[in-house]
Symmetry: C2
Subunit: 349 residues, 2 copies
């Protein structure tokens, strides 16, 4: 199994990318990697060339590049070459720490969508109080979604939770503004009806953003706009509370500092529980091959976990299972054609 | 100034309601209150009858009543009578700790909307790191909104921030899935254009839910669905992190407990910063009179602050200012009539 890696994406590239890749290579003898990037920078970092190929390119996409334009014009960028490798069958999956927008564009325009999935969705893994965690999609690949997109997310998210997270019969919840079945706007009311009727998913009803960290569902399904606001609210609030906690310790005089000293290890493990980047990368589900985005600030261990996560998707054939599901359920695949109002802009805003 | 109070709403009614009301009465000689509820329960709690009138009723709305039906059928409920008092001019504002849904229905169907405001919005005050706080609306009075509703929220929120929170030239931000001007779905792109062009507001552009606790805006404008998800995500995350922090202290053995002891006061003040209910009540803006909802779990001090907050709105004539604004800017009041797709269901879902 070959995984294409954009070695130049992220805040600490290529150092953390190479370190994480070598660790994954040493962990799993089935894995081979193609590293796209500046050979002069990459090569000195490598300890052991075994199952690592470097494809040199000097071009790369920056975080302030306009995503779609960057993908189209920077044809030799490390991210673009990695996506091309997947498209051409030289690799079976792709990982990058680069710009999310550019990566979504590379996924949609180079790797391409599964036929049945109109709007691929971005799926991160989030923490829960009991440490089990859950996945949520879409968190922002799309600014607008139709009800049947949310059904497609439920199906893809369920396969992902089973294959990659080892959850048996994953519980699917719909993020809504109340738990009762009739809650929400038309989008969410219709999505609730579609999810209730769909075969092969374990739909547990509506869930609220106030409760999702308690783990009422293994897969939380949401439109990209609400999912983005919810994910960012959780991340921002965790960051703010932890920041104020540090303030309470360090600006709290002697007793604050002493308290912090005694609590040090406990607070550290608590901070780790809420470090969303430690849960590996976010997957753009609905493409012809796995495309996984690790956080730009990821360290080598996060890159390592992201690569193992990606390999799990490949080994379990998660993408093929999604294709098979929609082949076996043409009534679901066709549900979308009854909705005329779709603005088919590729979902990249 | 007379304020109508639903004395029977909330988890600790009527005790905390009466205690908070007496405190507000003692604080401000201009205030008079009409208490609606069970006289046999209310009367023994009152220390001093000065400027307090009790209107007895045995009926009340419960938290599990279906809101619209409850408002229509329980015609003698304490909440309904308080709203009727405002409608008939016996009181100039209303406060309740009862069911949010029923209170929204009472506001819309009994007190009634300002002509220019099609969809009143619910506005709570949230904390910021610097302690100044901000207001956000709509957080769930509506499941769906149009772009011009968001403009109306910006105007109402600005008057509120000035009159009640004393913010000079309040900065208005649009909650969106990125800070660039072209971000979001059509609703938010169009709202951005309307906000950029509107006279009399200090629009600072898009803000993200990851950042709002840092205080980039004094008034955050959002559609009710996204605002609800964002508010609940913030509340749920604060609750979860604080819960885990307690766990780190109490399950952390001797060092955890010692650490907690040293940090006690600092953690307490931090918890208070994030206790959203301590920021008074949420106001349903867009009605003909102030209607303020305090948290069901509110204590007497929160009731007291909520009553002072309500009195400030009345004294400053905030409602009249909103009416005057739309009278003076007919082009904005008329913007809504160009949008044919409005489903005018009263905004109560």
């Amino acid at each position: 199994m070959k995984i294409a890696i954009d070695a130049m994406g992220g805040d600490h590239a290529p150092e953390v990318v190479i370190a994480g890749t070598e660790k994954a290579r040493d962990h799993d003898a089935d894995l081979e990697f193609i590293l796209y990037g500046d050979e002069a920078k990459i090569k000195p970092l490598i300890h052991n060339q075994d199952r690592l190929t470097i494809v040199h390119t000097a071009e790369k996409i920056n975080s302030d590049d306009e995503p779609v334009r960057a993908i189209r014009r920077k044809k030799q960028a490390s991210m673009v070459l990695a996506a091309q490798a997947v498209k051409q069958g030289d690799a079976t999956a792709m990982v990058s720490l680069g710009s999310t927008g550019a990566l979504l564009a590379a996924g949609l325009f180079i790797i391409g969508r599964i036929k049945a999935i109109e709007r691929p969705g971005l799926l991160p893994t989030l923490p829960t109080v009991d440490g089990k965690g859950f996945v949520m999609l879409d968190v922002g690949a799309n600014a607008e979604n139709r009800p049947y997109h949310l059904l497609q997310y439920a199906i893809m998210g369920s396969y992902y939770a089973k294959d990659v997270r080892g959850v048996d019969n994953p519980r699917v919840g719909l993020l809504n503004n109340g738990t009762e079945a009739n809650k929400g706007d038309k989008l969410h009311q219709e999505a609730h009806d579609l999810l209730s009727a769909a075969p092969g998913i374990n739909f547990v009803g509506n869930v609220e953003s106030s409760d999702i960290l308690n783990g009422p569902a293994d897969v939380v399904v949401t439109d990209g706009f609400t999912g983005n606001a919810t994910l960012k609210a959780i991340e921002g609030t965790v960051r703010t509370v932890m920041h104020m906690l540090k303030g309470a310790i360090y600006d709290g005089g002697v007793s604050g500092k002493l308290g912090g000293l005694f609590l040090k290890n406990n607070l550290k493990s608590m901070a780790q529980t809420f470090d969303i980047s430690s849960y590996g990368g976010a997957v753009l589900l609905g493409l012809k091959a796995p495309l996984v985005k690790a956080h730009g600030a990821a360290d080598a261990d996060t890159v390592y976990y992201t690569l193992l996560q990606t390999a799990k998707m490949v080994k379990n054939g998660t993408v093929a299972k999604v294709v098979d599901y929609f082949d076996a359920h043409p009534e679901i695949a066709e549900a979308k054609t009854t909705d005329k109002a779709v603005d088919n802009d590729g979902g990249n805003k």
